[in-house]
Amino acid sequence: MAEIVPLDQAVRELVSDGDTVALEGFTHLIPHAAGHELIRQGRRRLTLVRMTPDVVYDQLIGMGCAQKLVFSWGGNPGVGSLHRFRDAVEHDWPAPLELEEHSHAGMAAGYAAGASNFPFGLVRGYEGTGLAERTNVGWVACPFTGERLAAVPAIRPDVGVIHAQQADARGNVQLWGISGVQKEVVLGAKRSIVTVEEIVEELDEKPGSTQLPAWTVTAVCECPGGAHPSYSHGYYDRDNAFYVSWDGISRDRASFLAWMQSHVLDTADVAEYHRSLSESEATPV
């Protein structure tokens, strides 16, 4: 049954160095506050799993939390490169980063298999591509037609982390809008952390939108604004300006580290993070 706890406590109790951790959210509902807490607590040697390791994993990789990345598309959407990810792969800074890469369909099939407790998922796009040689993939024959299909391993992280709009006092989680693989990563994980915009006494329930009943979740943490610069449908929009500005902040190691120091390491939680951002906007450098 879900426990309602502060985010720092959930991260301390549920995530250990060396764990396989998946922070999910496909453009929408990306759990940035949880990523920041992993950085503040100095987690190391993590295997990070995520379809689109955008700004949130650029930060974790650049701060030295990751040993391995399992992913399908690593860019800053609509903007360009993830400079910290590239620096790690191209120059081993701050540490070498082992890669296991798939297509989106492959990752989605792996998550669905994890949630279903199947050993693998099936996909039809790998044959004949370079992925077939480079990634963790096997081949199976359809028992009915003999068709050859690619098998991708089930994704069963130690900890699955998502953000959602609401939970009630018991920890039932309601989310709506673009739902990504939010449900699959929580159901497939050994332990889970769900950060939410707000915890309400009773959900104003939209039938079918309680995606995760309380008994499927380990910890629920109230984190208003916890998806920023991603968005929470119905609460705030995607901060496209931030994604554009991240290109400049992250291009250079020193400016990246300075930004992480002022807005993550020197802040205690998501409220202080937002305060530090609005203060730095008020006083341009």
């Binding site: 379809m51 609509g78 989106h104 044959e127 068709e147 809008g177 673009i178």
Partner: protein
Amino acid sequence: MTPVESYTADEMMAVAAARRLRDGAVCFVGIGLPSRAANLARATHAPNCVLIYESGAIGAKPSRLPLSIGDGELAETADTVVSVPEIFSYWLQGGRIDVGFLGAAQIDRFGNLNSTVIGEYEQPKVRLPGAGGAPEIASWCKETFVMVRQTPRAFVERLDFLTSLGRPQGRRGGVGVTYVVTDLGVLEPDAESGELTMTALYPDVTPEEAREATGWKLRLADELRPVQPPSAEELEALRALKPANEETVAR
């Protein structure tokens, strides 16, 4: 259509790609040039074009060009929103998409694409974002359009990594790449060999320019189709498609 005086190469690209989309086509759209072209088609001759974004937004009708494939406006204007496992299984690999729209860092003469690495995989010169939806889009949409600016670095004899197939024959999906739109003109596969052949050049582009911009020995069709420059109506519709982050960029 009224011809106009001044337009950019990127605008010509968007217009050339948009014209090829038929009204009612179900189209899987990536961010950047493809999203611009597909939305232009929807704003002009193809109002019933169904735009599908990989975030799960089906039938999205954005009023501004989204910065990401999952901007909130896509979900708000969509006919329906489905999960990511569903979009890639029921919809894409389920064979329900007419046209896939891809970009890439490198393309070879058979329409194979690279969006993974430049250089050696283990020690890449440039680490690119990776496959994303491309392998299944290229194999399972009924046909695939590609938009790439034509340079010898992009149009290569040999890809550094094969991310998605140009001609996925025998795999029960689509026919692969049928239309490549560049900033110089259009390439289409030869009916027999499948080799990409320049079939159209934009106004004022010479065959020599196209050859020099290509890293393999480029074949040109015996009769190159003329391409009309963007009409005033097309340019007006294209320029009205403001990026969602425009205020930001201008700041």
